[in-house]
């Protein structure tokens, strides 16, 4: 299987504290990779090195190299000529707690497209519908697209957030414990959705739930004390 992410000698620090310690790893295309390990071991930080989201926080720094293989080209994502906006559209992210923006369901989904410069309302409308169907949400929300997204249930909100990340057709989707704040039923729905997405992109998912990892992951990596190893 061809690789889509290659990481070499990645170390990461918050202030003086080392969070990730000289990690080297590679992840194949169209796979679900589960990242597990004790709390505070650096799993979420690791995810954020792949879309450079850690740069939004003060006092953090890293060393090493992260490369993506996109359109048959190897790209060093920390190179000067890489656009952050482009990178984050190619590497989507879903957070631990559902974080719909305080606006309508429709606008939550249309927003990433508008941010990317899309203007045609009709095409945006089609994309919104398509991604809602993909997230198994269309039948539940088609009559209430103007409602505030925060009125959805927790599970629906998280599916909306996954749909919002998927609307930009990322090559990689980072999932930071996407089911940890949900009940069993909602978590299973998210799992089914995650499983269905693997044909479209590579998924890196942080999870503490060993049964869930067994159900969905193709590959399992563990981070302990800032070091990564395969399981």
């Amino acid at each position: 299987m061809a690789n889509i992410i290659e990481i070499e000698n990645l170390s990461f620090y918050y202030g003086q504290k080392r969070i990730l310690d000289n990690i080297s790893a590679a992840f194949g295309k169209s796979a679900i990779v589960a990242l597990t390990g004790p709390s505070g071991s650096g799993k979420s930080t690791f995810l954020m090195t792949i879309n450079r989201l850690w740069e939004e926080f003060a006092g953090a720094r890293m060393s090493g190299q992260v490369s993506l293989f996109i359109d048959q080209e190897k790209l060093d994502i920390y190179a000067r000529d890489i656009s952050l906006s482009w990178l984050r559209r190619k590497v989507g992210m879903v957070f631990q707690s559902p974080n719909p923006l305080p606006m309508s369901i429709y606008r939550n989904l249309a927003l990433p497209l508008r941010m990317a410069g899309w203007k045609n309302k009709e095409i945006i409308g089609h994309k919104v519908e398509s991604v809602l169907k993909q997230a198994y949400l269309w039948s539940e929300v088609k009559g209430r697209l103007r409602d505030d997204a925060r009125t959805l249930s927790g599970g629906q909100q998280q599916r909306l957030c996954i749909a919002r990340a998927m609307i930009l057709e990322p090559a990689i989707l980072l999932l930071d414990e996407p089911t940890s704040s949900l009940d069993e039923k909602a978590a299973r729905e998210i799992e089914a959705l995650i499983f269905s997405l693997k044909e479209q992109c590579t998924l890196l998912m942080v999870s503490h739930d060993q049964a869930q990892i067994k159900r969905v992951a193709d590959e399992v990596m563990e981070i302990v004390g800032g070091r990564m190893s395969g399981l």
Partner: protein, 292 residues
């Protein structure tokens, strides 16, 4: 002891609210009792017919219509001049400024907020004198008054914009960043729509401040009788100045009563503008956040 303190605190809080509401009711009752008898069409249009006055076919000399129009023009011109800069500076302070420049700018804007309006009026007057020496057609006028008022209301707009943006949860910025938005896009598409209600509240405050101020306009262009201004470079009439003049120079009870009538009209005007701003706030919020 703690229960007694709790009870006393509750009583004090409840009493404070009650006293303020009561004071406001007494104030409004007094104003209505004094102003309502004067409130008729002659107060606005004098001896000029209403239609002729509204169509600007005859000049209103002894009515408040020119002062009402002057006040409205003043508010809108001051807002037009101040809102863009107020928004810009507020966005800068909330989203771009580093620690030291934020402290410096905040100090300057706080000082500006603390400048008495008579001093701003004096500045406007000095500016008029300075400009008049170079461009003789510039005399104390509507434009200078509006610009001086804009300076007066600028701190309200800056602070309300800054506060509205800073109060937004950090997760909004992080979510937008994760979706690929740069800072300008985040501000434009995520933060400003969310902060719109707070920003419009600041504009409402600014409307009130611009509508009531007398000191600034006294030194920069308002006169007792000027008619409806035909250009930005004309002197003008305004309701607060009419009220001040009626209260300080009245020669009989009827003139004072007209002053109270003018005060009621000013309150009604402000009430209407506040309602308009509130409706606008609802509409803008709905349009920015919930329409397709």
């Amino acid at each position: 002891m703690s229960r007694v303190f709790d009870y006393l605190l509750y009583l004090f809080a409840w009493g404070s609210g009650l006293i303020l509401v009561g004071a406001f009711a007494v104030f409004m009752g007094f104003l209505l009792s004094q102003g309502l008898p004067a409130l008729d069409s002659s107060l606005l249009f004098g001896r000029t017919g209403m239609v002729d006055a509204l169509l600007l076919q005859r000049v209103v000399i002894d009515g408040l219509l020119p002062a009402l129009v002057g006040t409205l023009l003043l508010i809108f011109l001051a807002l037009a001049a101040a809102v863009p800069f107020g928004l810009g500076a507020g966005i800068y302070l909330a989203e771009y400024a580093g620690k030291s420049s934020k402290a410096l700018f905040s100090l300057v804007f706080d000082l500006l907020a603390g400048v008495p309006s008579i001093v701003i009026g004096l500045f406007g007057f000095s500016l008029t004198v300075f400009l008049h020496k170079r461009f003789t057609f510039i005399t104390p006028c509507l434009l200078i008054s509006a610009l001086a008022l804009a300076l007066l209301i600028l701190p309200y707009l800056i602070r309300s914009t800054q506060t509205a943006l800073e109060e937004l949860p950090a997760t909004l910025r992080l979510t937008a960043a994760a979706l690929g938005a740069d800072q300008a896009t985040t501000i434009r598409l995520v933060l400003l729509p969310q902060a719109a209600a707070g920003i419009l509240s600041g504009i409402v405050l600014a409307i009130g401040r611009a509508a009531e101020d007398t000191a600034v306009i006294m030194l920069t262009g308002v006169v007792v009788s000027a008619g409806i201004p035909r250009s930005l470079f004309n002197s003008f009439e305004a309701l607060p100045f009419y009220i001040y003049n009626a209260a300080s120079q009245f020669s009989n009870q009827q003139e004072l009563q007209r002053g109270f009538g003018a005060a009621l009209i000013l309150l009604i005007l402000c009430g209407l503008l506040f309602t308009l701003a509130w409706l606008l706030r609802k509409k803008v919020t709905a349009r920015l956040l919930y329409h397709h």
